[in-house]
């Protein structure tokens, strides 16, 4: 099943802010084996924001009208651009935009860009995730 192209360019502001705390920073760094000193100083590992992007994207990805079979989804590409490091105590807002939708040889591709700001409106990071739903035509 092809994805619903009407979702292209739709934007989803996160309904709530995400508070970054030291426990989550440490759980994430432990899971990837990052034991650098900055963790103890309250700074998150470079890919930490994915743990928030996942839940910020759910509202779009789980919309039945989009037609994404989440059980077939694998991660195709991911990127991060950092404006400032993520530190314990900050409250982050995500605006996620569906930037691309396409089908290629029976696989569906969807790219979501998330623009992340702190409570003062400063840009923190921009994330892009491309997800692939494998072989949903079969």
């Amino acid at each position: 099943m092809a994805l619903n192209l009407a979702f292209l360019n739709r934007s989803y502001p996160s309904l709530e802010t995400f508070k970054v705390d030291q426990t989550k920073i440490e759980a994430f760094s432990a899971a990837i084996g990052d034991d650098n000193e900055y963790i103890k100083q309250g700074f998150a590992s470079p890919t930490f924001l994915i743990s928030i992007q996942m839940s910020a994207m759910e509202v779009a990805l789980f919309d039945p009208e989009l037609g994404l079979d989440y059980s077939k989804v694998v991660h195709g590409e991911q990127s991060f651009e950092y404006k400032k490091p993520v530190k314990a105590g900050v409250e982050l807002s995500f605006v996620s935009t569906i930037e691309d939708i396409k089908s290629k040889v029976g696989n569906d591709f969807i790219t979501i860009r998330s623009d992340v700001t702190d409570s003062l409106g400063n840009e923190v990071a921009t994330l892009k995730a491309t997800l692939i739903a494998r072989g949903t035509d079969k």
């Binding site: 989550k24 759980a27 994430f28 432990a30 899971a31 990837i32 084996g33 990052d34 650098n36 000193e37 900055y38 700074f43 998150a44 590992s45 470079p46 890919t47 994915i50 743990s51 996942m54 839940s55 989440y70 059980s71 077939k72 989804v73 694998v74 991660h75 195709g76 590409e77 991911q78 990127s79 991060f80 651009e81 950092y82 400032k84 490091p85 892009k128 494998r134 072989g135």
Partner: protein
Amino acid sequence: MSVGIKYSDVEVGFELPKVIHNYQRQDLVNYANASGDHNKIHLDEKFAKEVGLPDIIAHGMLTMGVASRVVTNWVKDISAIKSFGVRFSAPVVVPNDGIGTNVEFSGRIEEKMSDKLVKIAIEARCDGTKVLGRSLIIAQLA
């Protein structure tokens, strides 16, 4: 910006210290809990095989996270990291054999840019197969 590593001290071709990471099933459970990604292809062997995978596969984002350590272990300073992008080119299959799967991560300075920025190409190999493609970190050195 960076504490230790000076831009003037490195050249194109410089190789960063390698990171070797062993993936076991429990590591995927820990990563699922820490990241909130509970997709069953990373946790449920029966499910993974039903959807056509050889076995449970690791989260791509776990591999990306470990890959970041090649650079963060080297520069030490988190604010040095300006961007990081990867393509997931092959899965890391994690059997339930108590031995797990090793992936070797290496990094090499590919380009010296302006503003003391360097472009670092990261390679991740599992049994000789590249599991990350086009994996690049831009870092700002001192």
